[in-house]
Symmetry: D2
Subunit: 434 residues, 4 copies
């Protein structure tokens, strides 16, 4: 039975997004409303003042796209019934429900201080709160929703609709981040890509040849957004400050105490920033006081300076087909060599800076593989995506197709940040080490 | 001497906005950075989730437009030197510096509980804080800036650049509010309007005939934004809740204690919402507790319902030219009559509802002339704006030009809001009174 | 059975427009391809150089919107099966198939010189060419298509989808003309309007209350496009030149000889302009030679001047409900009076100018009711459109709803055009007559 | 003295473009008006129906950007006075004045049948027609204008403003072609790029480091537009048909007889298409008749099929700095090898197909280096562009900057087209040759 919509939401990206009854009930919970206060991009607004958009809009936009993707797969016969469409929409709606304040930054604190992650939190929320009741009362299985939301469904291509290199997550956040930041890099022809979705023989999500250019464009967008927004030098400065303040002061503030979810639900960007700035525990040591000041500086946008930057570009290390293994060896090796050089550089900087940072000095290493950065252009999605060409009866992974091959490639970066006072000192010791 | 720009900001509305040294110093103060946490539209995001943009971006956008306006007036010989351009830009940058949490809502609390206004606060900030030092150190007169920012400069047309029906304020916020809310109503061809600016013989700001259609379009946009965003039924529901919670709990929270500016600078939207929800004073009476709950409901987006709505449309009451006074009398009177009917309706509702509200019941009257609503389409700007036609040597006020006349007109509205529990009760007593 | 799409077309307005097999066969005929060479707006590119778009794109765009409208009506139960959707799409695709060179201008020549119209030509093309064969071979009834395309289907609301004040025709051309001309006036939220379509008890097409603002916006757009594009002073100058050259030289060129359609199919904008400029018949009289020169001047964009302009604005003459008949009489009469004054003015100018024009002088009267102007804001559609409000169980015609009432209204205009040489002469005799 | 503008033109790309008196006089000539009938992209509308835009709008848009570029260079002290700005604007306005019907296609016919080019024709028009008179009467030197328009001015960076990889030509046509075709690939942040223009020590045009990402984006846009529009398989099919019909029938039609310019000025896209279809010379041989039919097929959009396609991607062959010569040898050689393979493939196909084509068969080879394709991503501009970094006092050519290096690269393509009848035959002989 087709979905029955009961209302709609105005969204700058997808215009009018319709919702069903169960979707409205979920959106209306205070658990979901909370996402209005968690920005999609923790620190991007420091450079792009318009980038104040939240996980709330992104979740609703992802729900919309998940519906389109489901509809395409239904029409092409990959889904049996349209029940799955509502499941996909709900899963997309809830895929970020476990995110905490400052999204990926909190995630990194979680990873360091607990055994949790936003996915685990999300599972818990879907399986054990009033969200669970709403799902059940409306006839949906929380376990199905949770498994789809967090990549654990037994049917691989369904998981890939929600997250990964062809996901509605990516197709919503690229244009959305671009729109609100005012950069023009994130245009994605998601209608065409979604219309072209196919399922390969091995049950992976793929696209048909007709959308190859649009997919290529999306890869380019991702690369440009990474450089100009997600890993922007000043944006990351603010994020490094927040990240380290949270890590350090967590022992006092217990941000990651998840014994009950109630206190977690109270946390949001501005609230936590306020908490970090207001710590007044008399027993604070000098290190902690220094990190309270870091948070205060962040609030006034007095940011750390980047004193060192290193870029390394190399081709995508692809899993070669046997017949190509020999002739390509040269490039393969070259790429490996670059990777080794980069890793060595990271180790060296860590050893130089580590002891100062440990003693409470404000000097930080930032690497493009940090978990707090959305989708650096070197994660593994690209090489796993398939082009399905019905006519020629072949399925290829993307990086074996020349046009994509040219633009894909690792982009590794390292940066060192410190405050004005210590700038000269660290510049000198890094220089001396070279 | 032309302005010397030292950097630029990416803005979705005006693309790249350049700034000068003094502008950067002003923007970098914590006083100005504070505007990042005060939304341009207090409650619009409840209906248009993207509308999270802040006074920070709007102030910078206004600065940009003020520069364009100044440049036009300089080129047409209405300004003597380009020194005034920097003054205009700074004044536009600072015209909202006195705004408090939830912008116009706080303004209404100020008006009720103090003798202050955001303009007075703005003056104080420009004349007596580190902003003052920055201005003086860079060679600008704080008194000039303050008078321009708040409509007190001796040269009328300079004031009109900053605020009013042809101002950069309006020309920035209409397209900005439209962009972030995702409505398509706020398109303004501000380039054309600004290029067409003229100064009339009586030193008022006017536009040349060539921009008449663009100006007409802007009037239409304003009208559409008013209806679909600023005075939207659900948007106003949230705002009425915030407004009344602030008014009631101000006695406990001292939000409007402006004896020192330091505490004022700490206030912002999310902070104040947190304060309203967290009041735990043991001496709170039942009325106060009811308003704490009102704030908590707002936070969860459990909004009051609109149970009554009344619209009244009438022509703009224009100041007639003597030769028209007689033949138009009919329409003039009709308009006056409508106004009287409307005013009577307001009085009646106030008397019905007043006693319940006074006793702490959650029932509220909302009128389109509330100070917390931006620019309802009945304020006086329209009739004061002049068209300058060099060739025909005439100056007309806009409402004497047929095309504008057709679309201008008063739009008065009243609404009554209450909570679910009391809905039936108030619906009945209002109905009975008719 | 849902439509089976076999390909898609990239369109700046609707992005990717999918088409079915029968649609591709129709589009691929030389009869339809011919529309690529007939501009949507005959002379608008003289002022807005980008406005070179053709009936081809508009027809395909209308087909797309007709599909959306059909889908909405199907989902709401107003259509029995989705067969009608394909019929509606084809009818929209072919609704302009009978248009000749310069669209509405040729239409006006047809009306003057023959008993034909583009609708009659369209019927003939659908019922008696290879288009007919394609329809039949694919299982569609040419008579059904033709009746839908030209407003003759027995079910009123189906006709109204194709043409009229709520039609896909209007909803496609307003944003399209706006996009290509570069004006920002034609934004139409057609998704919302189409989603809100309803059928009234009397089988008329209506919209639900939720789309009232969007519909109001579309009315405003129409009004703005009329003034700034369709009836723009200079645009009409070029169109008046083409129109009169075609009328005069038709006797030599036989443009309207429709005995066989083959020669009609050869005609397109640039071809006819070439023919008008190249007439070299030795028997041409001085009047004809003068009109050949008029066409040559058009080609070089040496346009006639507008020497007189008269605007008349009045309220929509609505059919009053009985209970309003008395109190509104005043305005009703006033409106009638304005109309009489306007008509008198037209008669007077005709009598002044007529004899000169008849003797071959280049002096022309242009009235906003000319058939060659798209949708002047005074045609009858507005007052016939219904708002359907399920909850309150009422149906209202739009002009009884206050907000629409305020902006609707007649806009009558007259202009006189002549060449530079005679400018002074006609200015004087018109002035003397006043 | 700053330019004195007397009017403005509405343009979808740059909004309101102002013009001066001399510019209006030039635009108003029939020689310039002629560009309204020459499409910017000869065949793109066959696939992207909206792409009907003409050289007229592009020329005016280029004039606008040339003014911005001149203004930037003046403010940075690279120009002595603002006189040069008007010269630059005029030169940009006229840089395409020598283009004939179907732009680059006619260019290719010219190259094959004459010693002319559109540049030579442009020079002649600027130096010896009424354009010359207008320039002189307004105080501008036709020789200066002509040399700037066609890259012959003694000051290298001035030439580079008008044409080349950083030119206003490119910065206008990429977004314009994208806008009208409805693809979203051609977004160019030309404001930022133009604001960043610098002149290197060697008097070449460069950009400052701050615009590196924007420049990189433009390169990506160019690449995407090349693939999706300029060298689109079906677009090129139509263009190959037109090109070969013009080449073959030129002997009968004398399209390239430039003894007098009057007949050249009569030619435009639709006119020439009509001429090609209407050739009725009784002495036509079978080959000529076959090409008349080719033109007729084009008109009906019955296009040739692509039966063979070959892509070759390789890195940009850069001019290495001496110190890099050794370590990069490997990649250098690899690139050379790919080029040799590609060239060999072209030769082989030519020898296979050549004799059939010579005998009048409709089989054609299309290579991405054809002069009728705008800016394939392998022309030399990229490697000649400089980044100027004031702080670090270096100037680098772009391809030595890692990020650009990654995306630059040769894209060579070959295609073979033929008609449906012969499809199988040529497919077989090409296959057999492999």
């Amino acid at each position: 039975m087709p979905l029955r919509y009961i209302g709609e939401i105005t969204d700058p990206i997808h215009k009018n997004i319709k919702f069903t009854l169960v979707e409205r009930e979920l959106i209306d919970t205070f658990i979901f409303q909370r996402l209005r206060r968690i920005r999609q991009l923790a620190g991007a607004h420091l450079v792009y003042p318009g980038a104040l958009h939240s996980r709330f809009e992104h979740s609703i936009g992802s729900m919309f796209l998940a519906g389109l993707a489901g509809q395409t797969l239904l029409e092409k016969g990959y889904l049996d019934s349209d029940d799955m469409i509502q499941n996909l929409r709900i899963s997309a709606l809830l895929h970020d429900i476990g995110h905490g304040p400052f999204s990926h930054l909190f995630e990194e604190v979680l990873k360091e201080c607990t055994t949790h992650s936003h996915e685990k939190l999300g599972e818990r929320i879907i399986l054990d709160t009033l969200i669970t009741d709403i799902l059940q009362r409306n006839g949906y299985n929380p376990i199905t929703i949770s498994s789809l939301s967090f990549g654990k469904h037994k049917t691989r291509f369904l998981n890939e609709i929600i997250s990964g290199g062809l996901s509605v997550d990516l197709m919503d956040y690229l244009p959305r981040d671009s729109y609100f930041s005012g950069t023009e890099y994130g245009k994605v022809d998601y209608h065409r890509i979604i219309n072209s979705l196919e399922v390969t023989n091995s049950k992976k999500l793929g696209i048909s040849r007709s959308a190859l250019y649009s997919y290529e464009s999306m890869l380019i967008s991702r690369y440009q957004m990474f450089k100009s927004v997600y890993f922007h030098k000043t944006v990351r400065s603010g994020e490094v400050m927040l990240l380290n303040a949270m890590k350090c002061l967590n022992s006092v503030l217990n941000l990651t105490d998840l014994s009950s979810l109630d206190s977690f639900f109270e946390l949001h960007d501005e609230k936590v920033l306020g908490m970090l700035c207001d710590v007044r525990d008399p027993s604070l040591g000098p290190k902690e006081i220094s990190y309270v000041n870091l948070a205060k500086d962040y609030k006034k946008r007095e940011l750390l300076k980047c004193i060192y930057e290193y870029f390394s570009l190399s081709r995508q290390r692809q899993e070669l087909r046997p017949d190509e293994a020999i002739k390509n060896t040269g490039e393969h090796l070259k790429s490996d060599k670059k990777k080794r050089i980069f890793d060595a550089q990271v180790s060296k900087l860590k050893s130089i800076i580590g002891k100062y940072q440990a003693s409470g000095e404000q000097v930080f290493l930032d690497i493009s593989s940090a978990p707090s950065i959305p989708l650096a252009p070197k994660k593994e999605e690209v090489s796993s995506i398939m082009v399905v060409d019905k006519k020629d009866e072949y399925e290829k992974s993307f990086d074996q197709i020349p046009l994509i091959y040219v633009i894909s490639g690792y982009l590794d970066m390292i940066r060192v940040y410190t405050n004005k006072e210590n700038r000269k000192f660290y510049e000198t010791i890094i220089k001396d080490s070279e």
